[in-house]
Symmetry: C2
């Protein structure tokens, strides 16, 4: 190697060093859909102090666990949960094979688009719809059904695939955390097998980092081939007090970052906050009817059966120093498809 080659090699080395050490700073710039204000600053301050080895709040890489609710936290949950829209579509598609549904509630109401009667059927009715649409097939078949639906269904207000109704600032936050060696998880009341087909491509979160509600499955040999069949029986409800239970069951570590948006996320944030050392908890607050939706009833916003955010949750958040992420005031852009 002559001296010119050696110089070239040393320049390569400098460039490699640049790539190695410039990551975090570049990632902070990546929160570009967040308004430069106290919420964005609180996030950056937390990440900088927990990832700086010189800081008293430093957290080793293996303990950088961040958990995120999905519906209303990472993507839209109005006018109804995406999974409910899927279940209703699925019931309509299966109706020709179930002539009895024409006269049996809550199926009759679904087929007649009578959403009031569907809602009035309560938890029992919804469970029947979920089981009729989510059970009775193999896990592989269900995955194909969900993928097909996600590829073709459109949200009624924005006329976009549901996978485009993700909040750009939250996707940036996930990427920012991962650029600082956080492991990002979804912890959702939604069905784990409904989310997994899309979380890698949409959020960069692999199936093994998705925690959700589930129905039981059963191992069977069908035509000489092993299958996991989906049974019409609840296995686990990953909501409210179920969220810390699910986190412990799947991860076995306490998160140091948690974001949610509703009463169903309180216990996850409490559990996260109860650990020793620096913590970051946040609640996405839907206060932007113009660009997305506005619902609470916290702060006097209209009530909603999907993603209820009650005043007592707001009070607990303020008492505990949880970040309230105002969609209206903290986010410059909500969706990637916006101008």
């Amino acid at each position: 190697m002559n001296c010119i080659q050696a110089r070239f090699a040393s320049l390569s080395l400098l460039f490699m060093a640049y790539l190695m050490f410039s990551g975090p700073a570049a990632a902070a710039d990546a929160l570009s859909s967040w308004k430069d204000g106290p919420t964005r600053q609180a996030i950056i301050d937390f990440v900088e102090k927990t990832t700086n080895p010189q800081s008293g709040d430093f957290v080793p890489v293996e303990d950088r666990i961040a958990t995120f609710d999905n519906d209303g936290t990472l993507w839209v949950e109005h006018p109804m949960y995406t999974q409910l829209a899927f279940a209703l579509d699925r019931v309509k598609k299966l109706a020709p094979q179930h002539p009895e549904w024409k006269t049996t509630q809550p199926f009759k109401a679904v087929l007649e688009n009578d959403m009031k009667t569907v809602a009035a059927s309560g938890e029992k009715g919804l469970l029947e719809l979920v089981m009729a649409s989510h059970a009775g097939m193999s896990t592989a078949e269900f995955e194909a059904i969900v993928k097909d639906w996600l590829a073709t269904a459109r949200d009624p207000r924005f006329n976009k695939p549901y996978t485009e109704l993700t909040y750009l600032p939250m996707v940036e936050l996930l990427e920012y955390l991962r650029a600082h060696d956080f492991k990002t998880y979804i912890v959702s009341g939604g069905g784990i097998e409904f989310m997994r087909p899309m979380t890698q491509s949409v959020y960069g979160i692999p199936p093994e980092q998705v925690i959700g509600s589930s129905i039981k499955t059963q191992y069977e040999i069908k035509d000489g081939k092993p299958e996991l069949m989906r049974l019409a029986e609840i296995n686990f409800i990953d909501d409210k007090t179920g969220k810390p239970v699910g986190i412990n069951m799947y991860i076995g570590k306490r998160p140091i970052v948690s974001f949610g948006n509703s009463d169903g996320d309180r216990q996850m944030l409490e559990w996260t906050g109860a650990g020793a050392g620096a913590r970051l908890m946040g609640l996405v607050y839907h206060d932007d009817a113009e660009r997305e939706y506005a619902y609470g009833p916290a702060g006097g916003l209209p009530n909603s059966p999907f993603g209820t955010f009650s005043q007592s949750t707001m009070d607990e958040a303020k008492k505990n120093g949880w970040q309230i992420v105002s969609m209206k005031n903290d986010w410059l852009r909500i969706f990637a498809f916006e101008e």
Copy 2:
């Protein structure tokens, strides 16, 4: 930078390149406790073809999932499962607070070291012992109890801490796979919270990559602090047909590598083998009474209630091309503490 500095920099670059590209070859040498024979070669061939981008069997990093049973596959399960030894010790320790155990089976038998009567109490009796020793405390308390026991208890034959009774060739295999970007998981019938306190330090496997049996937990606020309390109720049995169910529940992907050692691992290996593309399945065969234990009854070895390996499992293994890992013939060393 002068020319000498530049040359130094270029040497650093070469060294870095060496570190970057020498990993896999160095890792193959790391299977040094394996005898150079067909089993070791089958492992190396599989890893080389699935990680070589030029190979038709190449598997992308995100799908390199490897699952391992624990008892009898990664560590010793005789004269009884380590967790059972823990449960018996725990019952003895708690006995002063339970005077009624002196006259109630199966506790009486435990306190009298009458293992025949303990065994005769069957599954119901064992469940009572497990619940009495594993439930009724918080997850944090249980973790501390397990850590303390693992630090002090000694195996009766080798007089070593149980965490030293791991199979060196299998630990090398875990490391070899991880050096090739495989994600290694434990999938055990043992209790998930019993294993997690030791898997990182003993196997290099973090808590979130441990799948096991579990009891239910419940979220409670105690003295203003959230706790997960362990209930005397089975949540999930991760054995036999439960293993594919657990793999799907926790990982959501099908493994391409699976190792077990008993009838309880058959369905995990079937499930792994039923996927498309290259697969590696193996069963550790305990045929070395001198250095460890010999039990089957496959191949006419003595029968055992712990880690039963029946002839029909051996027949299925041969039919499906699963590797039979003979402790006697394939392993030069079994334990790290051996000379």
